[in-house]
Each structure stands twice: as structure tokens, then as C-alpha cells.
């Protein structure tokens, strides 16, 4: 691809250097910000996702455009609704093609959340 720079290290003038493998391996490979408590859920911004599947209250599946290499990538997510809430990545349900996330309220019940964000860290296929 035009404009490609091949380098093993990036060096700052005073702050030292870092290997580019840290940049490649440490960058999020997909991320999304969506509104989860409206019908249907609405994506505000994203990268490397093809769709949201709304599977029920507080239950969403996010499909990748560029699949992950293995299902053992790290998924993390966050939610924000008044009254306290938590959002989890359901790691056991992750596949290389989709990330599963869920929102819960303080009582432990599924809950849709106004702001839901998620990202995936790992290797791409």
C-alpha cells in the first residue's frame, strides 16, 4: 500500500523508544459506541464492525468486518445508565466473527443502556 513505513522501533527525542510490535499488538482492532436503550439500537461511531444484533434486553452481538484470528481475543465494554449499571463482555460466547456484550442493572437483571461502548484487542485474521 502506498505510504507504508517499515520500522521495528519508534524513538522519541527524549522519552526513549518503543518497538512497533507494541503498537501493532496493543492497538484496538475494533471499537464501537452505540445507544442501546432505543429501538432499534443506533451506532454513533465505530471501526471494523459490520452490524449490531439486538438479541433482547441488554443483550447484543457485534459482528466484525475483519475477523479476529482466534476467539481468545480480549473484549472489553462499558455502559452508562442512571441508577447504576454494569456492562460485561460475555467472553465465553465470543467467536472470531462476533463479540457478545451484555448490560446489567444493580439487581443483576439484564438492562439496556444509553451509552454502550466496546472494543476488541488481539490479533486479526
Amino acid at each position: 500500500m502506498a505510504g507504508t513505513i517499515v520500522a521495528d522501533d519508534i524513538q522519541h527525542s527524549t522519552a526513549g523508544s518503543v518497538g512497533t510490535e507494541y503498537v501493532v499488538n496493543g492497538s484496538a482492532k475494533a471499537w464501537i459506541h452505540f445507544v442501546g436503550n432505543v429501538n432499534p439500537p443506533t451506532t454513533q461511531d465505530s471501526h471494523n464492525f459490520s452490524s449490531i444484533t439486538d438479541s433482547g434486553t441488554g443483550n447484543f452481538e457485534l459482528s466484525f468486518t475483519n475477523s479476529m484470528s482466534a476467539a481468545t481475543y480480549g473484549g472489553c465494554c462499558n455502559g452508562d445508565t442512571w441508577g447504576g449499571s454494569t456492562t460485561f463482555n460475555d467472553g465465553g460466547s465470543n467467536t472470531t466473527s462476533a463479540l457478545s456484550i451484555g448490560g446489567w442493572n444493580d439487581a443483576g437483571a439484564r438492562q439496556d443502556q444509553a451509552v454502550m461502548t466496546a472494543m476488541a484487542m488481539g490479533d486479526l485474521a
Partner: protein, 152 residues
């Protein structure tokens, strides 16, 4: 904007170009489907950046590439993809209409058991509709099923 010649370019790099150069497209289409009698209806919503790629063309791989990767992942001894090159090296598909893009997305992100036999039973398992046809609130969300009215 004209999509560059991306043949042989990593898919993730193509998506990076699209993120920088294409305006996201919010589709009004929604796909409602049921893949289990014990679960509520599910709703597929296209990602706006993905839809922009589909409409622009020459960015996304053919949908069969995803089927091949899904076959690999379904193997009992699967640990890691070894045919990821299919995503990057297969010639990208050309521009699609919004309707064609939704059909592509159905075949990519909805289980094949749903879309291959979507109308085989007593009632449809899948419906493409406009977002205005869905309930406006999420009250009783877990009780939603495809209605005869929506399926008509």
C-alpha cells in the same frame, strides 16, 4: 469518492481508508429474525461505516469468504484461523445498492440455518423491514416475536 485499487491490500487497511474518506450511511432497513423457539426475535442493524463501504464498493471481500472462515471455526480442533488471507487477497466486491448490501449482511451475520430456509415453516423466520415498522419502545423486548403483520 473513487475507491483506490485495493486488490491485495489488507482488509483492515481498506477499512482504515474508508473510515477516513467515506461518510457513514445510516440504513433504514432492519432484519428481524428468529433462530430459536425459546428466544425472542433478534434484530440486525447494519453498521453505518460498513454500509458506506458496501455502497462505495471495492473494499469488502465476497461474502463466501466469511462462509469459508466460519467452516474453519466450526471444526472441533479449531484454534486459530489459517486462511485469513482470503479476507485480504480475494478480489473485493464492487459497489452494491443498499438492498444488495442488506442481502450480503444477512448472509454474513445471520446464521445460515435462518436465511437458507427463512420461509420453509408455517411462518417466516426472517423479515426485512423499515425501522418505522418496529415498536418505538423496548418495553417487553424479550417477548417480541415476528408478527403476521410484519411478515406480510
Amino acid at each position: 469518492m473513487q475507491t483506490p485499487d485495493f486488490k491485495g491490500t489488507y482488509l483492515f487497511d481498506r477499512l482504515g481508508w474508508a473510515k477516513q474518506n467515506l461518510e457513514p450511511v445510516q440504513s433504514d432497513y432492519r432484519v428481524v429474525y428468529e433462530d430459536s423457539v425459546d428466544e425472542c426475535a433478534k434484530i440486525l442493524v447494519a453498521d453505518p461505516n460498513w454500509m458506506a463501504c458496501a455502497l462505495a464498493g471495492n473494499i469488502l471481500p465476497p461474502v463466501w469468504v466469511y462462509w469459508e472462515l466460519a467452516k474453519d471455526e466450526a471444526q472441533p480442533d479449531f484454534k486459530k484461523h489459517t486462511r485469513g488471507y482470503l479476507l485480504h487477497e480475494t478480489e473485493p466486491v464492487g459497489p452494491m445498492t443498499e438492498e444488495e448490501a442488506i442481502e450480503y449482511l444477512i448472509q454474513k451475520d445471520i446464521p445460515q440455518s435462518v436465511w437458507q430456509g427463512w420461509d420453509d415453516g408455517n411462518r417466516p423466520k426472517m423479515v426485512i423491514c423499515k425501522k418505522e415498522q418496529l415498536p418505538q419502545t423496548r418495553t417487553w423486548r424479550n417477548a417480541w416475536r415476528i408478527s403476521d403483520e410484519l411478515a406480510a
